[in-house]
Amino acid sequence: MREEILRLTGEHVVLVLIAMSFAAAIGIPLGITLVRWEGGRRWVLGFASVMQTVPSLALFGFLIPLPFVGGIGKRTAIVALVLYALLPILRNTLTGILGVDAAVRESAVAMGMTRWQVLCDVELPLASRTILAGIRVATVTTVGTATIAAAIGAGGLGVLIFRGLASVNAQQILAGAAPAAVLALLADGALGWIERRVSPY
């Protein structure tokens, strides 16, 4: 039992890490794009919001019949988790950059910084805390949602929960739920610590 819990915890962590890497790799650049692409904001944020409102079990189900992203297993689960995690990352990237003091941005431009330099040296560092907060919220939620991924054969701690549910075994459910809760707390603490360390001012 203990070995199984450890193995499934490992699977769970890998699932969350992969999903979060994709979510950040898509969400942050897309959020940056939305800063200048005002017309697209409503649509992109709307899409991400709709994704969050779909019940997670249903979303996993919807994805299964789709070509390329669908099917049974880890890949489908990761796609669903990425869709869930996108909104907080997108939104915080956007609001973080929009929140940079206009006088600071204007003087950066007036000093002769290029667009790219303004983004990398001014906007992103000043928005980093807000962006990280988005990643933290998304990670904590993803740790929880990832338990449902077991329903479509993606493994992880959800395996124990679903098995417990099927056999009406509370101990079995706890064996999956408790490590998931601990993982969520650890992720929250670790990312919170990084967040506080990031901006020294």
Binding site: V104, S107, A110, G112, L126, Y201
Partner: protein, 239 residues
């Protein structure tokens, strides 16, 4: 050095500047004076390409701003604004050294230049160089802002109400220091303010703006004698 040729600027269907003609001579401090909304800040931003005229042209060193590469143009021009716009995540040293580093000066030269400027603005480099802007008083931040504008030794300086946020006593000190720097460095400067006392004190010429037009351009003495209604309205503030 800078020339406005029949410049008009329109935004949101409103004329911010119209038929604006002005020549800024090398070495002078030209003050643009006007009420809020008179177009003085817009005029300033037309010089370093933060804005471009909707009609006419602004020429800097003989070339229209629209023909300049904006980045190159801006790096030749020092700029300081009321809220200073210091980068809150950069130390004083990094803030002041910003443009020299953008221009790829060797690190040792940047370091020397920063110390020289801080000393010139009466900020002890050993004490202040490593501080963040939030660890400075308003007057000190202002001086760091001026140091940053001067850093790459630009031929032209633009100031947009740089002393606007200072308390009255600090403001007078800042003005005195500005005069001192003006006489010592002999740079060309354009200075925007709505304070007539400041305008007459700092300017070698004062340009009076009203509703986007240049109503009067005169040396301080001649300005005091003007009987234009808008000039009188400002001069009455002195009494």
């Amino acid at each position: 050095m800078v020339e406005f040729r029949d410049v008009g600027f329109e935004a949101g269907g409103r004329n911010i500047l119209s038929d604006f003609c002005l020549e800024i001579r090398s070495g002078e401090t030209l003050v643009l004076l006007g009420r809020s909304g008179s177009g003085k800040t817009t005029a300033l931003k037309l010089i370093n390409g933060l804005l471009y005229p909707t009609s006419g042209e602004v020429r800097v060193d003989g070339r229209a701003t629209s023909d300049w590469d904006p980045v190159r143009l801006r790096r030749r021009i020092g700029y300081a604004i009321q809220d200073v716009g210091l980068f809150p995540h950069f130390t004083v040293e990094l803030n002041v050294g910003l443009v020299p580093r953008l221009e790829n000066w060797p690190e040792a030269r940047v370091h020397d230049r920063v110390r020289e400027l801080l000393a010139m603005l009466e900020l002890d480099p050993d004490v202040y160089a490593r501080r963040l802007p939030c660890e400075l008083s308003g007057g000190q931040r202002q001086r760091v802002g001026v140091a940053r504008a001067l850093a790459a030794d630009p031929g032209l300086l633009l100031f947009d109400e740089p002393f606007g946020a200072l308390d009255p006593v600090t403001r007078v000190e800042a003005q005195r220091q500005f005069l001192h720097l003006r006489d010592r460095l002999g740079k060309t400067a354009v200075f925007v303010t709505h304070d007539v006392r400041e305008a007459l004190l700092l300017g070698s010429r004062v340009g009076l703006l009203r509703e986007g037009r240049l109503e009067l351009l005169a040396a301080p003495d001649a300005f005091r004698r003007s009987d234009l209604p808008e000039a009188r309205a400002f001069l009455e503030c002195l009494e």
